[in-house]
Amino acid sequence: MEKQKVYELLAEVCQEDVVVEQPDIDLFEEGLLDSFGIITFLVEVEEKFGISVSITEFTREEWNTPNRIAEQLAERV
């Protein structure tokens, strides 16, 4: 799975292209993603990539940047 595809999906959820341009940006500190955004994202991940991530696995410490989210998803392919 391409990282770029994850970034683009995140950009759609966050409504902000900066997540594609700066994949190390902290999504929570910058106010780009909230609890409801996380859910939307995980639903889309399942629909588009067929990867199912339980919300209990999603911690804000490990999933805080586009880059780290892409890495986490890559482990689950």
Binding site: C14, V18, E30, S35, F36, G37, S54, T56
Partner: protein, 506 residues
């Protein structure tokens, strides 16, 4: 039914049963009663102006509940203020409510409040006072009848929050209905998901406390950390679930969220926004033994005034769920623009008439007169909601104004715009809701910026969001920021919202 007497009765007969639980912290009915007595005794020694509101600040510490009861026992209404409310907004609430006192159940950084001249009690002082076990004020000082019991602040279109006054009688009408029309029996466990500054919390707080139930708190820390949230839920032994549809939708993301996780759950109560049929369908399958209720009502009519049980049959019959039948002591009128009452099936504004309708907004005569009036000797409220009825079954179809619900949070678009205009980089702006599957997914702001030195738009957005966060709670801050040289106008010079909404729908 008298709320305080009912709680007193339980405290006398079952003093060891747990009234409130937040993680490992618990509060028994005996302690709830004693703590609130001591607080009431102390408050009466302060000689505060009679019936002046008292702010209770904090999140979901057990002391919040003791403080609410202590305040009403001393003859004052309480204003619940959650920790998520920004300081500038708290300042506005203090000023506009004329509150005489502030109780902190958690530390409030007082330095950030300007002219914080309001007398207050710190968390430490509160702990000492409630431990004194002094006898409270006599029952004659208790808030009663038409006196305000609580005042809840909600978004106002002028840019300032407005305080909805709920009297003891309003609350009694609501709680009696909950007892009579819902399968709520004694000694259950109720989930409390909404912060106390939202009146959804009243849907579990008083029905629970008047039936000797345990309130199980879901805190913001739990919601931010799903692992802890579901761990707590598993231990909770919840019988009665009260939340917004958005919250349960989040829980449904976890495949373990089934009747196996919550085997004692037998009642779901939803309020605050439209319950999507797919959510109801999923819950019926995952919790086959539980009954699901969809309810409707504005804060101004005390939490909710209509309800219906959601069954498979109901879901088959309706593509979008009805808001239900109106409670026995209340009437719902559907009127047209000329204030004429419409007949079955015709769409119009919904007017609520009955004993749970508030007397109005605290200190806001003009706003009150606009929305409240007397109808055949009873208090009536113009909801601003559009709906229709068929043989007593009511349906919701939208708003007459710019009030929206985003994930269950009620807000006025104009309040967001007014606060955006105060930001240093904003010249003019408009905020529009972006829909997904008929529900609002998020808010988008269109902004004509003032001069700035940011290189990238997201930096500008970040700066504006940070400034906005000083005056608005996080749920009111638009997710998407768009910049333009000018806002689209209609031919008569108004901002063309329809064009912007059409753009974001693409």
């Amino acid at each position: 039914m008298n709320i305080l007497s009912a709680i007193q009765n339980i405290a006398l007969n079952n003093e060891d049963s747990i009234a409130f639980q937040n993680g490992d912290a618990t509060l028994s009915y005996g302690d709830l009663w004693k703590q609130s007595e001591s607080l009431a005794a102390y408050l009466t020694t302060l000689n505060l102006p009679k019936k002046a509101p008292i702010i209770v600040y904090g999140h979901m510490a057990p002391m919040m509940v003791s403080s609410f009861l202590g305040v009403v026992k001393a003859g004052h209404p309480y204003i619940p203020v959650d920790v998520s409310i920004p300081k500038e907004r708290i300042q506005k609430i203090i000023e506009r409510s004329g509150a005489a006192f502030l109780i902190e159940t958690e530390n409030l950084e007082r330095d950030s409040l300007q002219q914080s001249s309001i007398p207050y009690m710190s968390e430490g002082q509160l702990t000492n006072i409630v431990a004194e076990h002094s006898n409270g004020a006599s029952t004659s000082t208790w808030v009663k009848e038409n006196d305000d019991f609580y005042i809840i602040y909600t978004s106002g279109s002028t840019g300032n929050p407005k305080g909805v006054q709920i009297s003891a009688r309003n609350l009694e009408s609501f709680v009696s209905w909950m007892h009579e029309d819902f399968p709520i029996t004694e000694g259950k466990v109720f989930l409390n998901q909404a912060p106390f500054s939202f009146d959804l919390s009243v849907m579990d707080l008083y029905p629970a406390l008047t039936t000797g139930a345990t309130l199980f708190a879901i805190t913001k820390e739990m919601i931010a950390n799903p692992k802890i949230l579901f761990g707590q839920l598993t231990q909770s032994k919840t019988n009665v679930w009260t939340s917004t549809p958005s919250f349960v939708q989040m829980c449904l993301m976890n495949p373990e969220f089934t009747s196996e996780m919550l085997p004692s759950l037998n009642t779901f109560l939803f309020c605050g926004e439209v319950l999507p049929t797919e959510v109801a369908n999923k819950l019926l399958k995952l919790f086959p033994d539980a009954r699901i209720f969809n309810t409707y009502g504005p804060t101004e009519a005390t939490v909710a005034v209509s309800a219906i049980e959601v069954t498979e049959e109901l879901l088959n019959d309706h593509s979008s769920l009805p808001i239900g039948y109106i409670k026995g002591d209340t009437q719902m009128l559907i009127i047209n623009e000329d204030d004429q009452i419409l007949s079955d099936g015709e769409k119009g504004e919904m007017i609520i008439v009955g004993p749970s309708v508030s007397k109005g907004y605290l200190g806001e005569e003009t706003l009150t007169e606009k929305a409240f009036f007397e109808y055949k000797g009873q208090q009536a409220y113009r909801t601003g909601d559009v709906g229709y009825q068929k043989k007593g079954l009511h349906f919701y179809s939208g708003r007459v104004d710019f009030q929206v619900k985003v994930h269950g949070y009620r807000m006025e678009i104009e309040e967001i715009e007014n606060n955006l205009l105060q930001c240093q980089y904003v010249d003019s702006c408009v905020v529009v809701p972006v829909y997904k599957n008929e529900a609002i997914d998020f808010l988008a702001a269109y902004i004509v910026p003032k001069e700035h030195s940011f290189e990238k738009e997201y930096q500008l957005s970040s700066a504006i969001k940070k400034e906005l966060a000083k005056s608005l709670p996080a749920y009111m801050i638009p997710r998407k920021f768009n910049y333009c040289d000018q806002l689209p106008m209609t031919s008569n010079g108004k901002i063309n919202r329809k064009q912007l909404i059409a753009e974001v729908m693409v």
